[in-house]
Subunit: 175 residues, 2 copies
């Protein structure tokens, strides 16, 4: 890599570096959620209240999962990010995503969720952009995910490509 | 889970359990490779000669990757399996696969390769069956992979499904 290419790459990721050295980062100031103005924070850490996460997943209708397995999955994810705001001195979880990875070539993003009251306001995009930035900062070249049909458009806007070179996502489920 | 369901599940995975407690397992005895009869062994461990792996990947025309990154990827994979045989007191690497995982819900299989001289003889199938068995033994329910168009048929025969419920595999690459 030439000096200038390296220089610009470093500059582009310097904000990510600053962010990951802090526990909570102010992501959006004065976010207007139907009249309720709050600051939205991003946390990149696996310190998350699992009951709050369960409630968040319930809010979008996901199937309930054993909390012990969720804890194990989070502890063994390469990257865990969540969005929240404070109100009445309480932390309110409104977004979550995580990624598995070999820490080198590939990462796969799972469980992207934004609370319905906060959807369609750019928060999912902001969360995903932070995920991609962090993974790129970690020098991971191929970022993958499996998208339900109703969200492929959302991921396309973020630069994700469906079936590039006809590479197909395949699943094996237990009988 | 009822007693009998649990009993049969345990019986089905008992061979896997026996295998993973050993370093090298005899997978196929007296394998006839165009007149050369060898025993094929499976190893589930990340102890692998990286230069042998590089040669194996070269043999199928894969793009060369920095050995340091390969080492990191292997060390951070949940499951690493390889196939080999002995000849003239030397170990010959002829197959490889690995999987990333959150150790709980999902696993993604990467870098499945069998040496061209040993292809079309059931070794890829045997290797993949061992991968799936081990992941199932680890109670991982969703096993995924990304398949090039020329190998989707191979994975279909193993029980993998393309785009189930129209879930699409998506990729993000650096610009």
């Amino acid at each position: 890599m030439t000096f200038w290419r390296s220089f610009f790459k470093q500059a582009a990721y310097s904000s990510v570096l600053q962010n990951i050295n802090k526990k909570n980062v102010l992501l959006i100031k004065n976010f207007d959620n139907n009249g309720q103005v709050v600051n939205i924070y991003l946390s990149i850490s696996n310190c998350i209240n699992l009951y709050d996460l369960e409630k968040l997943c319930d809010s979008v209708g996901w199937v309930k999962r054993p909390i012990k397995k969720v804890k194990k999955a989070i502890n063994n994810s390469f990257l865990v990010a969540h969005l929240f705001y404070y109100s009445d001195n309480q932390k309110h979880l409104i977004g979550f995503a995580r990624a598995t990875s070999d820490s080198s070539f590939n990462a796969t993003i799972w469980d992207v969720v934004v609370h319905p009251s906060f959807q369609s306001k750019g928060l999912g995009k902001a969360l995903m952009n932070q995920m991609v930035k962090y993974l790129r900062y970690s020098d991971i070249s191929t970022i993958t995910l499996f998208a339900d049909p109703q969200v492929t458009k959302f991921y396309k806007h973020l630069g994700f490509i469906v079936d590039p070179d006809e590479v197909k996502g395949m699943f094996w489920y237990p009988l």
